[in-house]
Symmetry: C2
Subunit: 331 residues, 2 copies
Amino acid sequence: MNSAGIDVVGIGNAIVDVIAHAEEPFLAAEGLAKGTMTLIDAERAELLYQKMGSAIESSGGSAGNTMAGIASLGGSGGYIGKVRDDLLGEVFRHDITAIGVRFETPAATAGPGTARCLITVTPDGQRTMATYLGACVELGPEDIDKPLIAAARVTYLEGYLFDPPRAQQAFRGAAAAAHRAGRQVALSLSDPFCVGRHRAAFRELVAGDVDILFANEAEICSLYETDNFEAAAAAVRGHVAVAALTRSEKGSLVIAQGDAHVVPARPVPHVVDTTGAGDLYAAGFLYGLTRGLPFATCGALGSLCAAEIIGHMGARPEMSLSGLAKAAGLI
Amino acid sequence: MNSAGIDVVGIGNAIVDVIAHAEEPFLAAEGLAKGTMTLIDAERAELLYQKMGSAIESSGGSAGNTMAGIASLGGSGGYIGKVRDDLLGEVFRHDITAIGVRFETPAATAGPGTARCLITVTPDGQRTMATYLGACVELGPEDIDKPLIAAARVTYLEGYLFDPPRAQQAFRGAAAAAHRAGRQVALSLSDPFCVGRHRAAFRELVAGDVDILFANEAEICSLYETDNFEAAAAAVRGHVAVAALTRSEKGSLVIAQGDAHVVPARPVPHVVDTTGAGDLYAAGFLYGLTRGLPFATCGALGSLCAAEIIGHMGARPEMSLSGLAKAAGLI
């Protein structure tokens, strides 16, 4: 594969998810805030894993999930992220390349193992995450493949990248390279606590470097320190060309070119596991955007992809999203 | 946990499943017979994995799945099987102990890695398996925990154990120990090709050492070299005290104490992945049997557990089988 005509390159923490069911008291006992992501160290990861129930393992990582979604829609993509040369690293590389995403970032040959996210799914389908970053802390500016960035219509960055120490440099370098090539930069805010940890840096980025912003209600409210969604939505106008604000079962609000589009959620018979819902919304939206589809259609594609992912365990598509989108008359 | 009052101890190949979706032509291209299990070596496993799509990893192994099912029903169980001291071995041990099954077989500290089963799920929900036995070849008579066997009401053996070289000795030793303690021995025939590889040994065992036999149509027909299910069912009468013969959507036929009970299958809205259907039928049946429930109820519990497992990816229960069985009025 060469770099000509790549739709999206995603940059993120390369993570394998370990997913188990539990009742709500488990979260309280472990001090985990439902619906959010907590960073944990290797020792805590080991202890928490011992307490978790029988699990399945599935490749994850926010931007990795988004790239898998774009590929499943028929889009072309690349991924930049850091695994270790261990079994979980091989699993991550297998899964993302098997779906057709170019992933050439060299694996770390020393240091901590491939990252793991311990995910607890409660009976309401909500997911609560505890992430051991492992090899992700090795990602740095030297891993940014600038010809790949220049060839991609959109460079997509996950906000979680602000957690590992050197990734923020990589992040800023990638955004600058994209803009130098006349390309667009998209950012997902990832998590309200992540926004809280890095609020000043995110505000500066959103105002200066981001063309397309993805955020859910809690994240956009955290960014602008308000508990009022309308106020947060008003604050983001003018800062970015396109803002796609997701609201779970209330659908999404797409603010672009002075207009606001209200996009309904797609009904799901049974919500099994919400892991990856935001990542897959971004996949559908960016796929539509890179094909020049109307913003409302981009949002509807986002809703469609999110609906597929929350109907089963794990954050990678199980059905062809391209097939689903064609059946729904969206592409 | 001590050994007093254990319901079932399972002995089998300790395997982690790697599960991906594919269309039927993939099976033909890879020379895999749909719905069956093929043994592969490490090199072939590596090549096949590279060709498979994005996958999830889930603990498996036929008897391991059955024990997880019995534990989910509220029964007490033990497991004997061989993993390596590697990451997949840790995953296997975590998952089976997390659900409450006693698993104390020491991991191999040298030799091949923990076994993997590469499972292809076709759009009809059927699973086709390619197994790399890895560390399972290390299982031998020295791994049979005889006090555990003596304490268990039933010792459950998977037919797949006839494939690794030394496991057959372990298998026979376990059956003899169970009978010396006045306990019952159950056997699952596992796979029609597995029966074909070891037909004479299986016939001798069934006639001489097995009290409870599990087989599907293809397996019981292979055992008695007939293509007529009624003929095979007639042949097994008298050889074992109890035979539970499963027939997919046609339910099962339970032959016991001179009677034959026809048990319907439980309807499933959407068959996602049939991996583990037979294993979970055995779990429900043995749970009922160890509680002295009528044979028809044992079969109904088998149908209930099989229905749960085929509604999602992977061969370990995602919902509490005890809760489902209570809701269905079976326990």
